[in-house]
Symmetry: C2
Subunit: 195 residues, 2 copies
């Protein structure tokens, strides 16, 4: 069954070890932030620093694992039809829009969509780690300068990941104008049981 | 007063808003990992993802701030006589040596030296975020590949930081062979009161 995360919203769900998760960009040029928690002990969670360290690259894609703060493999990326993702930048939050976009009004954000959906599992806003930003196109220059460019993903591009432990997953359809070329779109996902 | 962190050890201490912290590499080619917590609420802590996002660069140095997971400024870098630091890689941990160095024996690590020194403030191992790695020389290629090269710091190089809130600070003299050109050395620090 394919589930749809409507534009500027999110979802949270459980995966069992061995389950596969397919994250689909149905219209193209959309970003999905994902965060992971060990379902048996929520203090173990996704770590960008551990993942970049063990994989020895900024650009995480097919063949790499997503690692936890306890140096354990949480998911393996089995397929990635687009190939460009980001693991440098924190999920967009209310302050992203206030400080970077100079927008003082209320604005939906991945951070809010993650913690509100994950709250049913006892996960608080302060528990949200830096997300793995599927299809986010963050370019870096030799001098370190970062720029957020339109995603390279085309309609139907997807990433297939396999759970290496029982997981609580948070997933969004990104809310930030710059991240998805100024057009808010949905994200779809499918859970493929490992049993 | 200048304090010395002996090789492969760490320290933890409080800073008040307005205090300045000078982190000195007395012999050159040494790395110091720093983590920060809001002294009034330990759930607010240093965030690599928020810092890289707000500063829009991988290479954090003089003029930049270190930001928290709540999108607030924790410290400002006032001076940086070397200029090359890392905020991509997690502190070396026991698993770093087991998995990356293929060394099954006990090995001191920044992660252990951070959480053992911070435990007196009620900070647990799982609370340790990705550290800001002062003088760590992590090079990145256009294809994203990361390499840990010898630090560029010379004897006497230092970083001067100012606390923007009351802080609990963890600080190390790094324990990883590759990070400090295979010679373990001390780190020194001085707290300059803001009053």
């Amino acid at each position: 069954m394919i589930n749809t995360i409507e534009k500027q919203t999110g979802a949270a769900f459980r995966l069992r070890k061995g389950d596969r998760l397919k994250v689909i960009d149905p219209q193209g040029e959309q970003v999905s932030d994902i965060v992971l928690f060990n379902a048996e002990d929520l203090r173990e969670k996704l770590s960008s620093g551990k993942t970049l360290d063990f994989e020895e690259t900024i650009l995480i894609t097919k063949g790499h694992h997503l690692w936890s703060n306890r140096s354990r493999k949480m998911m393996e990326i089995l397929e990635d039809t687009n190939g460009r993702n980001d693991f440098l930048l924190a999920p967009c939050s209310p302050e992203t829009f206030q400080i970077m976009y100079k927008n003082p009004e209320y604005h939906p954000s991945c951070f809010e969509n993650l913690h509100t959906n994950l709250s049913k599992y006892g996960i608080a806003p302060d528990d949200i780690p830096t997300a793995f930003n599927i299809f986010m196109n963050v370019q870096f220059s030799p001098d370190g300068t970062l720029s957020v460019d339109p995603p390279l993903s085309k309609a139907g591009d997807y990433m297939l990941l396999e759970a290496k432990m029982d997981l609580i997953v948070g997933l969004t359809a990104c809310s930030a104008e710059q991240s998805n070329n100024y057009a808010f779109k949905p994200i779809q996902y499918e859970i493929i049981s490992g049993e």
